[in-house]
Symmetry: C2
Subunit: 457 residues, 2 copies
């Protein structure tokens, strides 16, 4: 296929993406801990030839909740987010029982060590035959800090500085071994060629890591590098080294501006625009008719407990809104947050533009956590996807099923065939690795140029 | 079955336990990175009704090698230990494609954070339906320290102090949720009962961890707690809280002394002797005749590169022996090591008792890394196992196949049926969790006594 193709990830989130999904009658109770349910969803996505499953993460209970931070879990107790499977264990288990679909896991650079992370992703890449991807985040809540020996989470700038150094170390560790270092010559007893082993010896501001990694270079060279921060610092890290960026936009215009800005930064790092996939989130609610779709959406919206909606909004906007009138206007003069900066600006912009009350705003975002919610028929949703894809707003999407597995089944049954009819999405996998699905080149080992130079001189 | 039963773990080590296993003609090249090969071995062990597979770990290349530490990997390059799959990813993948066998992974307390570890093991326990076990080690080499921001590894006493606190935190996190905390009441919107959530708020010398854990209490309460240090500090930690201890003994007498000592410590912690399983390592080389077994052993021994044998011995004994005559006596006045203390004493004792040269000692231990090597027929090996089992030396064994999968196939074909004939080993699993295989009780949540007290008053 020569026509540019959409990338589609299925965003796995236990019971589904809508905050009230767990109350939906079709969602199995306990799905958040049931590997069989995660597997069912991964197999649906694989049968539909999605590029990858995508798993979010956080390392605390009620991490976005101010009340929970001070010991009050009453609101968190009305959501299904407090307990779920951990990404490395989940994706490794999925690797054993899927064949082709990519496996993207979110892991924080703030509360991890690069050696552990490089090693686990390398191991996952070997187990899955080259299907691993790492969604790099920096964590942004005090609740997470408190689980890792800190009183406060580090400042935004410091987290991103650490993230940049972290990524350099991880890449250096993945390059510990040249691809053909392991000769395994039983006759001579030579298992590897020491000349093809490279000791990193990293000594930086945040890390001191000697190496080498005790796993061979991953089948993909590096697992696919995804980044999920859309702030200034996040964009710059993405432009420098990410291969896909997961982002949140409510409007075509906002997505286009982001797309142009991020793609425009690549040349400075000697990269071409197609080397970074831009993947906004989309929460699709699909019906056979528009009415059916609307009814499905309303059914979910009606299940949102007001306490949950308000708390979710407060967490996302980085300020406690519980003192305000639910049906009054959203206060626009909130203090700037040390957490997700880009998200706060996005929400305030939306509230101002559409003159939303606090309740209206939480109803708008509670479902999709600030992502793009599209309610309609398969054709209508395919139209919107095509519009974004062909007008400089997206290279593909992180599809966030409102509830699982039904919300994904709807998308696969009603939207995917329409995308195929338009020649926008594959009928069959053409490659076996996540890099191949995304159309990304396999990175060369950073030590090879030295070797070529030595060979030439 | 009322008769006391052996516990048997299959020690998975990529190409096999003998240091030259990878050169064996029947061992597939690249097995150390091939999930399919690990799975083949796990399925063999499961079909034979083993209690668990057991995975060792280290977090550096050539960690026991002084030469490697100073950048010379020539010796390490003659072994197959430099690259292999990581335990959490490997065991999670195995969990998805096995049904009953336990999954024990080694993870260090020195270079990890308790929140990450508690969470991954809880998740693995959920994915596997209660089959996870944690083999707790403290790491003991400078090569590992250098991968985690340190110039030197912490002292033995400090590592064990940290290990004790680490374990307390991990248990506290696993108890974050009472077993029935998640009510998932769709009608009212109550997902969990906050009264059954416990915030740890740990503030200790080594860790400050607030909690709660973002995974429900594991199916087993706690994954089975294994401990692998046999020093004074290791024994004390085992007596206080381990449920199985993996240990190395070359003789019945040494194993009996260890068994009596460790079991004798349990009462001080209010525990009964059967609450801690003592599992020495055994490297069995099995033939249909004694001659065949000897020939199999010799074939492997002949494949040991002298450079590898000497280096392995130096690493295990905690001193560089490369300056000594290979065929001269083992120097008995070595400085005490900060690494594995108990191992050094064991080796020096063996060398003195049997008047071994350095070459003889390395040939003796290179195969089994200080563990008990038994060469013989199925009946002969079953005799030795029964002798240890019935004479206060062992509750079972970590079976370390010399090469894989052949060495395990031999044991299963020739030794296991003999053990069954004697009524010492199960014909079928009677339970589904690792705790049930081991005959260990499910631990009660540490917050329950408080709750009962409140209910009574």
């Amino acid at each position: 296929m020569s026509k540019r193709q959409l990338s589609l990830n299925a965003f796995l989130m236990s019971t589904g993406h809508h905050v009230a999904a767990w109350r939906h009658p079709d969602v199995p109770a306990g799905a958040e801990l049931d590997f069989g349910e995660y597997l069912k969803v991964a197999r649906l996505a694989e049968a539909a030839k999605f590029d990858a499953v995508f798993v979010a993460d956080g390392i605390a209970v009620g991490k976005g909740s101010n009340a929970a931070a001070s010991g009050n879990f009453d609101t968190v107790a009305k959501t299904a987010r407090a307990s779920h499977l951990e990404p490395f264990t989940l994706l490794s288990a999925l690797a054993a029982v899927t064949e082709r679909i990519g496996l993207i896991g979110t892991v924080s650079t703030t509360y991890n060590e690069p050696y552990h992370l490089a090693r686990k992703f390398a191991s996952l890449d070997w187990i899955s035959g080259g299907r691993a991807g790492w969604n790099q985040v920096t964590s942004n809540t005090p609740a997470e800090a408190a689980n890792f020996n800190r009183d406060e989470h580090p400042e935004h700038a410091l987290r991103y500085e650490r993230a940049g150094e972290f990524l350099d170390v991880v890449k250096g560790l993945w390059d510990s071994w040249e691809d053909d270092a392991f000769v395994r010559d039983k006759a001579s007893g030579q298992f590897f060629d020491p000349a093809k082993l490279h000791v990193l010896n990293h000594k930086g501001k945040h890390f001191q890591v000697k190496g080498p990694l005790n796993v061979a270079r991953p089948p993909q060279g590096y697992p696919v590098l995804v980044q999920a921060g859309s702030s200034e610092a996040g964009r710059e890290i993405a432009a420098r080294s990410a291969e896909a960026i997961f982002t949140a936009h409510q409007s075509l215009e906002s997505a286009q501006a982001f797309y142009a800005d991020v793609k425009g930064r690549l040349a400075r790092y000697g990269r071409r625009p197609e080397e970074l996939k831009i993947l906004p989130g989309i929460l699709p609610i699909v019906g056979r008719t528009e009415e059916e779709a609307r009814a499905k959406y309303q059914k979910l919206q009606d299940l949102i407990h007001p306490q949950v909606g308000l708390s979710l909004l407060s967490g996302m906007i980085g300020a406690d809104l519980s003192g305000y009138d639910l049906d009054g206007p959203v206060p626009l003069d909130l203090p700037e947050t040390n957490g997700g900066k880009s998200r706060q600006a996005l929400l305030l912009d939306l509230a101002e533009r559409e003159q939303l009350s606090i309740r209206e705003l939480y109803l708008r975002i509670a479902g999709a956590r600030g992502h793009w919610t599209v309610v309609g028929t398969g054709t209508q949703i395919a139209d919107r996807i095509q519009q974004w894809f062909e007008n400089g707003a997206a290279d593909g999407f992180n599809v966030m099923p409102p509830w699982l597995p039904g919300g994904l089944e709807d998308f696969i049954e009603l939207v995917v065939p329409e995308l195929r009819r338009r020649g926008l999405f594959r009928e069959e996998y053409s490659g076996t690795t996540l890099r191949e699905h995304f159309g990304l080149a396999r990175p060369e080992n950073q030590y090879l140029p030295q070797r070529r130079q030595r060979a030439a001189s």
